[in-house]
């Protein structure tokens, strides 16, 4: 097994070499009659954006050739340390959230290891209605087996610091009572076996500060949601294995479905408020990457184990919800720009911050490339500043093919590996897997220009100093009408129409390059609305089927059963509202 430094070097050489070669090919084509300043701007954008594209693809290819070792463990072995399972919530539906907690608790009780785990619901809900509902359903939750003295609820009056502040508040008040904390999101669900194994891994490695699982997306119903779910369930494990290989002990933390050593977390992860105002100052939004970097700075191992199964989350069901979440992540990642020079951080942590920044800045770069290409087509006679390069053998189509290959090759390799390692069988066979991978490539390609414009707008908003705030996630409200889709995307339609109109009028020869980017933008309301529909309740189609749809995990079955059982008691619970309200102080 190669060490992380060697793997990083290999990935860096591949990405740098490929992007420089791509830039050279591009310059051969665009600067055939001599190189202008506009050509130099465009080639810089191609090389910079191409670098991160190849970097991501390299991680996936590395993951394809990395064996997935299935961990062997005794699920009934009791961990030595005491773990607090933390469930931070913010104006969520308490029925589904508390039912998840109940399902996880039952899973732990069935294994007989529940006494090593406490569960704390950490509410940051600022709506009185949500807080009252939480109190009512907490009453239901503590009727679960072995809950006495193990399941807690508290609500903060002031949700300062948002989720990171919520966790910090718990650790500052109760952290010394626990060895480890399993940090979840409101939509997280984990098998008791996985929870137990995480705690045992912490027991077994005193240098391990944080262990992250790779959560699979579940319960998606819409076309958009199921495509994301397939991508996370079928494609992401290879990406995660590759990333894990590169990261070594300086791995990622995605903010949930991960266990931390409380003493290490407390000593290293107290986040300061950044100087200046939001969006780039104030509280750190994407706290997870920063906490991973700080643990690493403190000498602790931060690891990810993609082979650990039984870790789930839910995802956005339509593009508008996705864009809302992405807006928050964009602001958080761009904030990391300010932390690149933070004292004492490891170089890999700084690189990870840069990677997060580029994940969002790449979109305006691609957009700028498109815009400058239109300008170059409209005004072909630019002043020449450098002589032309020798003529290319491959031509611009060769370069376009190379870009397509970078995007598609990892997915094809994952499909081929699936024929050998049994992953295709878990999604219904190689033919359904082939259909789904093909469908995912088509779907993501069609939506790419829409995503590109959404991300470019988000970056622009952050740079203009517009704070996106912290909107609550709307779960279970997926279906969008054409009117709602239009209200969210009219400016995308307008941008696409103007770009296409200008190109076809002023430089028709360049239209062939602009149509693939502008047509999806013009059709975006239709795409957004259509992809938000699904077949709720019915048996899911073979396309985009995931292993968890094919064979539901026991904790998923338990969760569904509990939700059904509890919702039948809604009336009775409603009657109890007044009684419980007396017991919970907000």
């Amino acid at each position: 097994m190669m060490g992380p430094i060697l793997v990083r070097g290999l990935a860096l050489l591949t990405a740098a070499g490929s992007s420089l070669w791509g830039g050279y090919l591009f310059l051969q084509y665009t600067g055939a009659d001599g190189i202008s300043v506009l050509d130099l701007v465009r080639v810089s954008l191609v090389a910079l954006s191409g670098f991160w594209l190849v970097w991501g693809a390299t991680a996936a290819v590395l993951g394809v050739f990395t064996p997935a070792r299935r961990p062997q463990f005794d699920p009934r072995a009791k961990p030595r340390g005491l773990t607090a399972i933390l469930v931070p919530i913010y104006n969520e539906d308490p029925v589904t959230v508390f039912a998840r907690i109940a399902a996880m608790n039952r899973s732990l009780v069935a294994l007989g290891i529940e006494d090593r785990f406490h569960i704390a619901v950490l509410s940051d809900s600022n709506s009185l209605e949500a807080a009252t509902e939480e109190a009512v359903w907490f009453e239901q939750l503590v009727r679960e087996p072995a809950s006495a003295g193990r399941i807690f609820y508290r609500r903060r009056e002031n949700n300062v610091g948002k989720k990171a502040g919520n966790i910090e508040d718990f650790i500052s008040r109760s952290g010394a009572a626990y060895d480890y904390a399993l940090i979840l999101d409101a939509d997280s669900l984990m098998e008791g076996e996985t929870i137990g194994e995480l705690a045992r891994r912490m027991d077994g490695d005193p240098g391990l500060g944080l262990l992250q699982t790779v959560p699979r997306v579940i319960n998606a119903q819409t076309l958009f949601g199921r495509t994301m779910q397939f991508s996370a369930g079928y494609l992401s494990p290879a990406f995660a294995r590759g990333a894990s290989l590169m990261q070594g002990g300086e791995g990622p933390y995605w903010g949930h479905n991960a266990i931390v050593r409380v003493s290490a977390f407390a000593a290293n992860c107290g986040l300061p408020v950044l100087s200046g105002k939001p969006p780039l100052g104030g509280h750190i939004l994407s706290h997870d990457y920063v906490e991973a970097a700080l643990l690493s700075r403190g000498g602790w191992t931060v690891a990810v184990d993609p082979a650990l199964e039984g870790s789930f989350e839910e995802g956005p069901e339509n593009l508008i919800e996705y864009a809302k979440r992405d807006r928050r992540w964009c602001q958080g990642n761009l904030q990391h720009w300010r932390l690149l020079g933070a004292p004492g951080l490891k170089w890999w942590s700084r690189f990870t911050f840069m990677q997060g920044v580029m994940a969002y800045v790449a979109s305006p770069f691609w957009l700028l490339l498109l815009a400058t290409s239109i300008v170059a087509a409209v005004f072909p006679r630019q002043p020449i500043v450098l002589p032309a390069l020798p003529q290319a053998q491959t031509g611009i189509w060769g370069l376009a093919l190379a870009v397509a290959l970078v995007l598609v090759l990892p997915k094809v390799l994952i499909l081929l590996r699936g024929m050998v390692d049994g992953q295709n069988r878990r999604v219904g066979g190689t033919f359904p897997a082939l259909l789904s991978v093909g469908g995912e490539i088509v779907f993501s390609t069609i939506l790419a220009p829409v995503m590109l414009l959404l991300q470019s707008r988000a970056v622009l908003q952050v740079l203009l100093g517009i704070d996106g705030g912290w909107p609550a996630t709307q779960r279970g409200q997926s279906r969008l009408t054409l009117r709602e889709a239009w209200a969210a995307s009219w400016w995308i339609v307008l941008t696409g129409a103007v770009a296409l109109g200008l190109t076809t009028t002023l430089a028709p020869a360049a239209a062939v390059w602009v149509v693939p980017a502008t047509l999806p933008a013009i059709l975006s309301p239709l795409l957004i609305a259509a992809s938000s529909h699904g077949r709720a309740g019915a048996r899911q189609p073979l396309l985009f089927r995931t292993p968890t749809e094919q064979c539901r995990s026991p904790v998923m079955e338990e969760h569904a059963a509990i939700v059904e059982q509890w919702t039948q008691r809604t009336v009775a619970a409603g009657q109890a509202t007044g009684k419980i309200g007396l017991h919970v102080h907000a």
Binding site: V142, R155, F170, R173, G270, P343
Partner: protein, 45 residues
């Protein structure tokens, strides 16, 4: 807020504080920078 010990089925969260010191993420200004700022402040004299 404080946790209510009267919850019927669950005792309050453990009262076990753990200090979580704020980390330094932004570089402090150097001595040279501080001196320059001080001089700039009095530059109107």
């Amino acid at each position: 807020m404080k946790y209510d010990g009267n919850l019927p089925h669950a005792s309050a969260l453990p009262d076990a504080p753990l200090h979580m010191p704020k980390q330094q993420l932004e570089r402090r200004r150097s001595l040279f920078q501080a001196l320059r700022n001080a001089i700039t402040t009095f530059s109107w004299l």
